[in-house]
């Protein structure tokens, strides 16, 4: 049953999932969504198309049960569901996003997760902030980026929520989130960008861990954010940024022979700092399927 044996430290369970939660993007995203580069303009139609493709892959190609939450125009960033919750095994931590404008995004997510019968833990401490984008779960442990969006207290609450696992903090300086330049590309495999900041963060993570991870270094930080899934009928699945966006990085991914590679373009959401992982939350409900 759940527990460490199935999805936990063995890392064999990494990427296992049955459900995904996504949220459609509101039109307000184009102008109001937070972004680091102020002058970037989002083509909403194209953004929507890309997102629908993304959801389509999860739903039809991978056969996941996808919960699609409706957009909320008052929450321009609500498409980035990853930031509002951290789900590990049967437990979901509802975060307190670092950006005040995003705090209300958690409500819809909480309801969705409750519907999946997850154990819900809410981050109520007003001193705590945590964006799910700063949380890297390797299957063995958590790394939490301490960024503008995530603070120590938030990380502590995460550690209290997932007691089985070591939770190490990693300073994040130049990026929005920890996962802006890294992610898991397979069990025990960390995809990492080539920037100095990314490499430094990787070093930190390596030092903090009792475990030795393999690393997959890609030229582009943004491309290092990919989605690894382990779907029973498909095996290792990797959603990565399309070659049109990051050709050099795509070549690196293409070397992963054991993975089913699915390139996905995310040019528009990228303008508001959206990465692939940002737009979904994966849940593995074994007992009820």
């Amino acid at each position: 049953m759940a527990g460490l044996s199935s999805s936990g430290s063995s890392a064999g369970g990494l990427g296992r999932c049955s459900h995904a939660v996504v949220r459609a993007l509101p039109e307000s995203l184009c102008r109001q969504a937070l972004r680091r580069e102020k002058d970037s303009e989002v083509d909403f139609a194209r953004a929507e198309r890309e997102h629908q493709l993304y959801v389509g892959v999860l739903k039809s190609k991978l056969g996941l049960q996808v919960l699609e939450l409706p957009p909320d125009e008052s929450l321009p960033d609500c498409v980035f569901v990853e930031d509002v919750t951290v789900v590990c095994e049967e437990t979901a931590l509802i975060t307190r996003p670092g950006a005040p404008s995003r705090r209300k995004e958690v409500e819809a997510m909480k309801r969705a997760l409750e519907s999946l019968n997850l154990n819900i833990v809410e981050m109520t401490d007003e001193n705590a902030t945590l964006d799910g984008g700063d949380v890297l779960f390797t299957g063995r442990e958590f790394f939490v980026g301490l960024s503008k969006r995530t603070n120590q207290r938030g990380a502590e609450i995460l550690a209290d929520t997932f007691k089985d696992y070591a939770v190490s903090t990693v300073p994040v300086y130049d990026s929005l989130h920890l996962k802006s330049f890294c992610s898991m590309a397979g069990p025990n495999l960390i995809a990492i960008g080539s920037s100095e900041a990314a490499q430094k963060a990787l070093k930190t993570m390596q030092q903090m861990s009792d475990h030795r991870y393999d690393k997959l270094t890609v030229p582009d930080d943004a491309a290092a954010n990919c989605i690894y899934l382990n779907i029973p009928s498909k095996g290792h699945v990797l959603l990565h940024r399309a070659p049109e966006e990051y050709p050099e990085s795509a070549k690196v991914f293409e070397k992963l022979k054991d993975h089913m590679l699915i390139p996905i373009a995310s040019t528009e959401l990228a303008k508001v700092d959206g990465a692939l992982t940002c737009c979904s939350v994966f849940i593995n409900k074994t007992s009820e399927l």
């Binding site: 049953m1 759940a2 527990g3 460490l4 044996s5 936990g8 430290s9 063995s10 095994e89 049967e90 437990t91 154990n119 063995r140 442990e141 939490v144 120590q152 990380a155 502590e156 550690a159 209290d160 997932f162 007691k163 089985d164 696992y165 070591a166 939770v167 190490s168 903090t169 070093k203 030092q207 903090m208 861990s209 009792d210 030795r212």
Partner: protein, 907 residues
């Protein structure tokens, strides 16, 4: 043969004496009268001593030693000793040394034989297993006697006195071994030792024979909540009790376990098996808890189910008490395995709603959790108890806090953190977050001073220098406890065999503690030889005893013989023997070695100077080491004492300043610590983790080291130049650039730097791999590789201005396997306080430092004293090589320059 051994024992005695002297001046006088007889006793007489007579020896050692030494001083060395030395208590030491040397000289031809004899010891022990019982009894008796004697001696003892006792223990251990051997009828091997001891024995025997053996009640709380009572010899060592408990439990894979002193509930204090119980626990009755000490990273590799069972019991306690945090799901899962193991398959009829309530699965167990547990229990149908335990462990071992021993501390900024010691290294937590981690390969040195705990870590890629990171522990005891735990964990998990004890160190400040048990590698090997049918054991639940999983004593005392039924000792050949021998070494020697080292202690003259007002302590230690597999292992140990915690300032000063040579020093302080290994009072302790690493781990280390490349230079900076002078004398000048409380030159780094080639690192590492124990260092490429017999370590104290110069005279090492360093007159050191701990010393010889200098000039031939010095490995190597190249020469002088390095407390 005899000579060697004799020297050793003497050495020990000396060290003891030194301490004793310092501690108890008054006593000395009393003992002096007796001295003459001792001196008169020729070696030959001693040789014949019988086991029974030996017993008293150990006790007498402190006093008797003194006696012997004092007279000797008068005759021999004393004349060489500067007046100030004489004034000090330590002066007595010199006498013994002379004797030792004399003996050595006379017996040089025999030395080889001795070695051989020593090596066999373990075997002998094995042979005498049957006699172990007797032996142990004898030992106990001896101990008891010793204690009584000690009491008389030590009534006035202060801290130093405690140290003495420690040394004494060491001696005792060796004696015990001897006894065993004798019983084994191998008297030949150890003749020498006995001889020496005999003197003591003779004296004491007559006096002490009438004494009775006193026993004390002792209770041990077992993991299943039951409590056993034992009557222990008053002087029994921890090992005696531990062995009894393991016997009771029918546990063979016992190296993972230990006994915890039930003194403070907050932090576990482990009973040191190598030391007398009474010295470790103050209160009566003696209460202990049997616990897992080293959590096997992979419990599936344990050989016996019974071992896994006890590990499960421990983990259930850890979990229920909250020490091992788990999620709800994990609590439930582990609880379900517990039910399966203890109750068997779920039976709806038998297992009604309440059956679960007698179990505690979590600190805050909810109905919901219990329901989950039951639900999961149903799914485990068919699992045997052993299988359920295995499943339990497979899940528990993955918990992030599994096997992590947490200690409260503060960082340099006063922020509360936790230091977690585990199999892989040291973890730093702030609240529940891991904020840093130092794998063992990253750690160059572990030390504590007062209530501060330091680790020196390899430079990262961005850094050029090693950094020393300090943590503030709640108190001195906590710091020492943490340090010991680190030493033990490192040794257990990463070394092939226990490191050699620091016994030989002469003048070393601080704790000599080393892990004396078997390492994981050793215990695995021993376990693989276990050949007995799976022992039957009862699980607690089947007994339906009220259980307290939270670790609270149940108060049930039972003498359950059922556990003993199958107790057949089928430990592999290596098993008990090794264990004994190691223990005997007091730390860690493997039999013969241990003794030698101990012996070396005695050889060292102690010089202590204390400057009033200044509390810094410096120590120069020349250590004579035997070289065995462990050659080269000992690295530098630096002891520094800064009374005030103003380490940084000192360090800074040190950096800027290069230490002049001898002349600079105002005062030199040397303290002999020989006996100090365990006293709680020890202010400082150092440990350098990088010696022998088990093979499997070496690779990792290498990898880690690779990152460090290019920094080796820094590491190696300790040795700046080595001059080899041909002729009868070889001068080696070593400059130490690092001072902070610890001046250690990473072994690996040293070679590289010296050669100036960074690539050497790799070579060195490879060598490491191939020869774990021996590292070959090339110095300037000129020197051929030679095994190092002497691994003296020079420790520079943190005090910036302190310069230490040492003269090391190395006798022909070729003849002696053990130690080549004959004389080490110690140079002056700037540091004032030699006695790091005893206030008594203060002010004793502050101004006399200059005198020390003169001591240096003494040549080894003229002076028979031998000094134990810790010298950096590089230095040792240099000396050795020099020796090798010029066997006919001796190293008369070693000049060590120390440069201070910032003690980086920051971080």
């Amino acid at each position: 043969m005899t000579t060697e051994i004799g020297s050793e024992t003497e050495v020990k005695k000396e060290s003891e004496q030194l301490e004793a002297n310092t501690a108890q001046e008054g006593t000395e006088e009393a003992t002096e009268s007796q001295i003459q007889p001792d001196l008169d006793n020729p070696v030959s007489e001693k040789v014949q001593s019988s086991p029974s007579s030996q017993a008293p020896v150990s006790q007498s050692s402190p006093t008797s030693h003194k006696k012997e030494k004092e007279p000797s001083e008068g005759k021999g060395i004393s004349r060489f000793i500067p007046p100030w030395l004489k004034k000090q208590k330590s002066y007595t030491v010199a006498g013994p040394k002379d004797e030792a040397k004399k003996r050595e000289q006379t017996s040089t031809g025999e030395e080889c034989a001795t070695e051989v004899g020593e090596h066999p010891l373990p075997e002998a022990a094995a042979e005498s297993k049957g006699n172990l019982e007797e032996a142990t009894q004898n030992q106990q008796e001896v101990k008891a006697d010793d204690q009584e004697e000690k009491h008389s001696v030590s009534s006035a003892e202060t801290q130093p006195a405690k140290e003495d006792s420690k040394d004494i223990e060491v001696e005792k251990v060796s004696e015990e071994k001897e006894e065993k051997e004798e019983k084994g009828e191998e008297g030949e091997k150890r003749e020498t030792k006995e001889v020496q001891t005999t003197d003591l024995k003779m004296e004491k025997v007559s006096q002490k024979t009438p004494k009775k053996i006193k026993t004390l009640p002792c209770k041990v709380m077992l993991l299943d909540g039951t409590e056993y009572s034992y009557d222990l010899e008053k002087r029994a060592k921890g090992q005696v009790l531990f062995d009894k408990v393991c016997e009771q439990l029918n546990l063979l894979e016992k190296d993972y376990f230990g006994l915890v002193l039930q003194e403070n509930s907050e932090q576990k204090s482990w009973l040191d098996p190598a030391k007398e119980i009474k010295r470790q626990i103050r209160n009566l009755p003696w209460l202990f808890t049997f616990n897992v000490k080293f959590y096997p990273p992979d419990p599936s590799q344990l050989t016996e189910d019974i071992t896994r069972y006890f590990l499960c019991l421990q983990l259930r306690q850890d979990i229920a008490s909250g020490h091992l945090p788990c999620s709800f799901v994990t609590h439930s899962l582990l609880g379900s395995y517990t039910l399966q193991a203890e109750l068997g398959d779920y039976d709806p009829e038998e297992h009604n709603n309440d059956y679960i309530s007698e179990f505690q699965f979590a600190p805050n167990q909810t109905k919901e959790m219990e329901e989950k547990v039951v639900e999961l229990h149903k799914t485990h149908r068919g699992l045997t108890p052993a299988q359920a335990d295995s499943q339990f462990l497979e899940n528990a071992k993955r918990l992030s806090m599994y096997g992590v021993d947490l200690h409260h501390a503060k960082d340099s900024e006063g922020v509360d953190i936790m230091l977690g010691v585990c199999a892989n290294g040291l973890l730093i937590y702030k609240d529940r977050l891991r904020i840093n981690r130092f794998a063992w390969p990253k750690i160059l040195k572990i030390s504590y001073k007062r209530s501060n705990f330091y680790i020196k870590v390899r430079p990262t890629e961005q850094e050029q220098f090693e950094s020393t990171i300090g943590f503030k522990l709640p108190n001195h005891r906590a710091a020492k406890r943490l340090w010991k735990v680190c030493v033990e964990h490192h040794t257990f998990y990463r070394l092939v065999s226990p490191e050699q004890p620091l016994k030989a160190t002469f003048l070393t400040l601080g704790s000599k503690f080393r892990y004396s048990g078997r390492t994981q590698a050793q215990t695995r090997q021993a376990s693989s030889l276990i050949d007995r049918p799976a022992p039957y054991f009862e699980r607690t639940s089947s007994k339906r005893i009220s259980r307290s999983l939270d670790g609270a004593p149940v108060g049930i005392t039972k003498s359950d013989q059922s556990l003993l039924k199958d107790f057949a000792v089928t430990v592999g050949p290596a098993g008990d023997k090794i264990y004994d021998s190691e223990i005997g070494g007091h730390g860690k020697l493997k039999d013969g070695d241990g003794r030698d080292e101990d012996g070396s202690l005695t050889k060292t003259p102690q010089l202590e100077l204390t400057q009033d007002g200044k509390s810094s302590h410096e120590t120069l230690n020349v250590v004579e080491e035997k070289k065995q597999a462990e050659v080269g292992i000992e690295e530098t140990i630096v002891t520094e004492e800064i009374n005030r915690g103003k380490i940084q300032a000192d360090a800074d000063a040190g950096q800027t300043r290069k230490m002049g040579r001898l002349s600079k020093k105002d005062s030199s302080s040397l303290s002999s610590d020989s006996s100090s290994s365990e006293s709680e009072d020890e202010d400082v302790g150092e440990y350098q983790p990088h010696h022998r690493v088990t093979e499997d781990t070496i690779k990792e280390e290498q990898e880690e080291n690779e990152d460090v490349k290019g920094k080796e230079e820094n590491a190696a900076k300790g040795v700046q130049c080595v001059e080899t002078v041909q002729g009868s004398q070889v001068e080696v000048t070593v400059e130490h650039s690092q001072v902070s409380a610890e001046v250690l030159v990473p072994e690996k780094a040293v070679p590289t730097k010296i050669s100036g080639e960074k690539n050497l690192m790799k070579e060195a590492q490879q060598n490491l791999r191939e020869e774990k124990d021996e590292e070959q260092l090339k110095i300037n490429g000129d020197v051929s590789h030679v095994d190092i017999d002497v691994a003296p370590q020079i420790i520079c104290c943190s005090e910036p201005p302190v310069v230490k110069t040492e003269m090391v005279t190395i006798s022909d090492a070729t003849k002696r396997t053990e130690i080549s360093t004959k004389e080490v007159p110690i140079v002056q050191t700037e540091t004032k306080t030699i006695t790091y701990e005893s206030p008594q010393f203060d002010g004793s010889a502050g101004g006399d430092a200059g005198v020390l200098l003169s001591a240096q000039t003494i040549t080894s031939e003229s002076v028979s004293t031998t000094t134990t010095t810790h010298i950096t490995k590089a230095l040792a190597q240099a000396i050795k090589e020099a020796k090798e190249q010029h066997p006919d020469m001796s190293v008369t002088r070693v000049v060590v320059h120390k440069e201070t390095e910032l003690a980086e407390e920051d971080e």
